[in-house]
C-alpha cells in the first residue's frame, strides 16, 4: 500500500460528496415547491378534486418515474463499486503471518491483555542529548557506546529476575553477563544529576502486557483476538476498536477473529471496547503505542533520513 491516507477517510469523503449532491437536490426541490406552490398561488380548479369516499383521479408520469428508478440505481451501483475495494482491503487481504507483526489479544471483562509473538524494542532518548547513545544486547554482553569520552553515566538493567548496574565513564562500557533473551530486558541510563537520558525496553516473544501494547511503525500489524472467561461469568463479546486507523472487529468467545492495519506514524493512541460487555464496558480501555522502526524508510517512523 503506497497511500498513507486511511481507507475510511477517502471513502467518507466520496460518500459525503454524493450525500451532499442528493441532499441538495431533495432540499432545493422541496423548498422551491413549498414556496412556489402554496394555496392561493395556484388555480385549484386545475387540480384533481378530492371528495370523501371517491378514489381521486390518478396522476403519474411513466418517464419521470422511470427516471427516478434508473438514476438512483446507477448511483447505487457506483457506490457499490466504491465500497467493494474497501471490502477487500478490510477483510479480504490479510497480511501473511511471516511478514506481519502479530499480537495476540485476550479480552476479559474488562481488561485487554496483549501477548507478543516476536520481540519488540522501545528505545527512548532524552530531548537535546548532545551525543548519541548506542546499545547492543546479546546473550553474553551488554554494550553501551557514546561518541564522546567525557561522560559520567549510570546504567541500570533488569532481565527477568536478574538485575544489575554499571557506570559508563568513557565512551564505551561493556558488561559481561548472561542475558536471557526469552525474558523482558530493560535498561535505563541516568546522568550524574540522576536525570534519565536513555531508556531501552525489549519485550521478548510471549511477554504479556495488560492494557497497553507496543507495535512497530511502518509494518503490517495483525491482531488475533479471543475472549476468555474470568471467574464464574461466561466469556462475553467485546470489540477491539482502534479509532486512529478506523478498524474494529468483534471478539467472539467461540472463534478467533482478527484485525490488521499499517501505522505510518509513531505515537500513542486509544484502544477502546466497542461491543457492550457488561458493567464496566465504558472503562475497558487501553493504549497502543507505535514505536520507531529502524528498518523503515519513512521519517515519521524514525527510520530513513
Amino acid at each position: 500500500m503506497a497511500t498513507e491516507e486511511l481507507a475510511w477517510k477517502t471513502l467518507y469523503n466520496q460518500f459525503m460528496f454524493w450525500s451532499i449532491i442528493v441532499g441538495l437536490i431533495v432540499f432545493v426541490w422541496m423548498i422551491y415547491s413549498i414556496l412556489r406552490f402554496r394555496q392561493g398561488m395556484v388555480d385549484e380548479s386545475t387540480l384533481e378534486k378530492l371528495e370523501p369516499g371517491t378514489f381521486p383521479k390518478e396522476r403519474d408520469n411513466l418517464r419521470l418515474e422511470t427516471a427516478w428508478v434508473v438514476v438512483p440505481s446507477i448511483l447505487v451501483a457506483w457506490l457499490c463499486v466504491l465500497s467493494w475495494t474497501s471490502l477487500y482491503d478490510a477483510w479480504g487481504n490479510p497480511p501473511s503471518d511471516e511478514e506481519a507483526f502479530i499480537v495476540e489479544v485476550t479480552a476479559t471483562q474488562w481488561n485487554w491483555a496483549f501477548t507478543y509473538t516476536e520481540p519488540i524494542v522501545i528505545e527512548e532518548v532524552a530531548d537535546g542529548l548532545p551525543y548519541p547513545i548506542h546499545l547492543s544486547v546479546s546473550e553474553g554482553t551488554i554494550l553501551v557506546s557514546t561518541s564522546t569520552m567525557d561522560v559520567n553515566l549510570t546504567a541500570i538493567w533488569t532481565n527477568g529476575p536478574a538485575n544489575g548496574q554499571f557506570n559508563i565513564s568513557s565512551g564505551l562500557a561493556t558488561q559481561n553477563t548472561i542475558v536471557d533473551l526469552h525474558e523482558m530486558f530493560s535498561l535505563t541510563i541516568t546522568d550524574e544529576d540522576g536525570l534519565q537520558v536513555y531508556s531501552y525496553v525489549r519485550y521478548s516473544a510471549q511477554t504479556a502486557s495488560s492494557g497497553e501494547v507496543f507495535v512497530p511503525c511502518d509494518r503490517d500489524i495483525k491482531m488475533t483476538m479471543t475472549s476468555e472467561r474470568l471467574g464464574e461469568a461466561d466469556a462475553v463479546l467485546h470489540a477491539l476498536f482502534l479509532p486512529e486507523w478506523g478498524v474494529k472487529e468483534d471478539i467472539v468467545p467461540t472463534i478467533e477473529t482478527m484485525i490488521y492495519f499499517h501505522p505510518y506514524e509513531t505515537g500513542t493512541f486509544d484502544v477502546v471496547c466497542a461491543e457492550y460487555c457488561g458493567m464496566r464496558h465504558a472503562y475497558m480501555t487501553g493504549q497502543i503505542t507505535v514505536v520507531a522502526n529502524p528498518d523503515s524508510k519513512l521519517e515519521s517512523c524514525g527510520g530513513g533520513a
Binding site: D60, C80, P253
Partner: protein, 765 residues
Amino acid sequence: MRRRAILLLAIIGIALIATPQFQATPGGIGSTADDSGCFCHTKESGTEVSISGLPDTFNASAVYNLTITVSNSDIPGASETANMGGFRLLINGGTLDFDQTLVQVVEGGLTHTELGNDQRSWEVSWTAPADDSKVAEFTLWGNAVNGNANGVTGNSGDGYNGATYQVAGLNAGPIEETVDAKRAMVVLMTAILLVLTLMGLAAMYVFYSRNPEGFNMGNFWGWLKGWLTTTDHKGVGLLYLNFGLLFFLVGGLLALLFRLQLATPMNDFLTEKEYNSYFTMHGTTMVFLAAMPMIAGFANYIVPLQIGAQDLAFPRVNALGFWMLPFAAFLLYAGIFSGEAGDITWVMYPPYATSTGGGDMSSNPGTTLFIAGMIMLGASSTLSGVNFITTFLTMRGHGVSWMKMPLFSWSILISMFMLFLSLPALIIGVVMMFLDRTIGSVFFATNIGDPVLFQHLFWFFGHPEVYVVVVPAFGVVSEVLATSARRSIFGYKSMVYAMAGIGVVGFIVWGHHMLTSGMDPQLRFLMMAATMLVAIPTGIKIFNWLATLWGGALVFKTHTLWALGFLITFTLGGISGMFFPVAGLDMYFHDTYFVVAHFHYVFVGGVVFGLFSAFYYWYPKWTGRKMNEKLGLIHFLTSFISYNATFWPMHNLGIMGMPRRTHSYTIESGYGELNSSITIWAFVFGLSQLIMVWNMIYSQKRGDPAGPDPWGGWSLEWSTTSPPPTPSFAEIPIQKDANTEAHRDGAFIRGVKKMWMIGEKEAKE
C-alpha cells in the same frame, strides 16, 4: 371444561413461581460501588468475617483496638508466605490507625497490602467520632483463599462474604433499621407512579367534566369498565395510542436521566449498573412500548374506517393483543423494583445476556423477566398481525379493490406482513435465551453453542422491524402531503410498489448490522449490496412526494409541517444510512455515536415525526374537534429545532470515535462540550413534547369543532361523522372511483402494457 382451564392456569402459575430464582445481593461485590470489595472473587457462605473488640456503645473520641478476622474451614490457609485472604472495611465515622506494612487505604476504604494478603486477621485501632450522638457503621467484606491462584485469578478455593456492624454513640438514640435504597431507581419509579396517578386523575376529570352534576364513583367505574372491556376497534385503538404516548414519555424520561449522566466527563450521577439498565430500557421501551403501540393504535382506529370495514376481523383477539402489552411492560420493568433491571441492551446479545452467576460480571437477574416480557410482546404482535392480515383479505368495502386502497392502509398491510413474517425469528431467539437462563440449556453458551446465531435471529427480525415502524409513517406522510397539497398523490401505483419493494428487500439486509461480528466475508458483500438497494424504493417515495407538492396548492397546517419536517429529517437519516453497508466505513462507524445519530434520525425524525403528523391529522376524527394550531406551531418549531440540535452533533461524536453504550468518557477525549450541549437540547426536546400533550387535553373541550372532513381528504374515514358511530358503518360503504373506465389502469400500467405490447391483441379482437 372450565375446571380444566383453572387447573391448567394453576399449574402454569406454580411453574412461573417455581422457575426463576432471583437473587439480589446488596450491590454484590463490585470494584467501585460503596459496598464493594474485589470483583475477582466469588461469594461463598462458608466464609465467615467478623470484627472483634467493638464496644456496645462508643464514647466520643475514645480509641478501641479492633481485630478483623476471616475464616473458612473448607479453605485452609496454605502457608505464611502464600496468599490466605483479604478484606475491605468501610466506616462512616471516626478514624483508623494501622500498621502500614499490612493494611492500606484504597478508594476510601481500608484493605490489606500485598504483604497483608498472607494472613487472615488484621489489627487496627479505631478512634471514635467526636460526636457521640451518631451511629457508627462498619461494612466489612472478607475473602478466604487457599493460595493456589498465585497472583492470577483462581476460581477454586476462593470465597468472600460480608458483614455489617453498627455501634451507637453514648448519646445516640436507638438504631433505626435503614433500607438500602437505590436512589435513581426510586426517582424513576416515583415518576412512573406519578404519571399513572395523573393519568387516572385526568381520566376521572374527563368523565367528571362531561356531566358534573351526575358524577359519582359508581358512574365513573361503569364508564371506566367500558374502556377496560371494549373490543371496538376505535376503543382499542385509543387505548393503544394512550399506552404508546405514556411509554413515549417514560422512555424519554429515561433518556433524560442518562443524558444527565453523559453531560459532563467522568460523571457519577448514575452508577454503571443504573446507566446500563436505563439505556436498555430506553431502547426497548421506545421501540416496543411506544412506537409499535402508537402504530397499532392508528392502524386500529383508521384502517377499518379507510377500507370500509365495520370492525377488525377478530375484535376480541384485538383486545387480547392490547391487554398483553401492559403485562409485558410490567415484566420488562419488573427488575427495577429490586434495582436489577435488564441491562442487556435492546439487541440482547448473548453470551452476556445469558451469563448468570458471575455477580457484577454477568447480566442482572431482572434480565430473565425482561426476556419473558419480550416473549409476551411477540405474542401480542403476532395476534395483531393475524388480525390485520385477515381483515385486509376479507373485509374491504365495495369498490375498495387492492389498487384503490388508501396509501396508509397499504402501508399498514405491508408493515403487518413484515412483522408477521419476521417475528418468529425473534421469538425463537428469545425463547432459547430464556431456556439458557433458566434451565441451563446451551444454545448460545460460549463453549458449545453459537453466540452469533442469536445475532442472526435478532436482526432477521430487527431490520424488518425498522421498516415495520417506518413504513406506516410513509403511509401517513403520503396521506397528509396529498391532502395538504389539495390533490391526489403523484404515482399512486409506484408508491405501492415501492413500499412492497422495501418489504421484500428489507428481509435480506439484516447482515449489515453484523459486518464486524465475525461473519463470513462473502455474506458481508451480499448484505452490503442488498442494503444499498433499499435506497432505490425509498428514493422513489421521496421523489413522488416532491412531485405531489410540485404544482399543488399547499395548505400549512400543523400536520403538514410535521410531514415536511419528516421529509427533511428522514432524507438526512436515509443518507447517513448509506454509510453503514460500506465495509471500510462500517469498520469505523459501527457501534459509535454515528450509529446512534443515524437511527435516531430514522426513528425520531422518521417514525415519530410521521406519527406526530398523524396525531394532528386524525385527532378531529377521534374527538370531533381540531387541535389548536398555534400550540401546534409552537410544538413543531421547538421540537424540530431542539431535535436537530440534539441528534446532529452525535454524528460528530461518532466521527471523533466515541463508542456507544458507554457510561462515561475521559476529559482528554474532548467529547465533553458536544455532550453537554446535547444534554441541554435533549431537555428542550423532551419538555416540548408536553406542549402536544397539553394541546390534546386542551383541544378535547375547547378545540374548533370539525365536521366529518376537516382537511378535505378523500378516503372513506372522512365520509363518516367525527367521531364515527359504533359499529363504524351502518352498512358496508361504497367507494366510488373518479377515474373513467378507459383510464382505469392509469398511465403507469398503460405504459408498461404498451412497452410489452400487452392488450394490443385484445384491442384488435
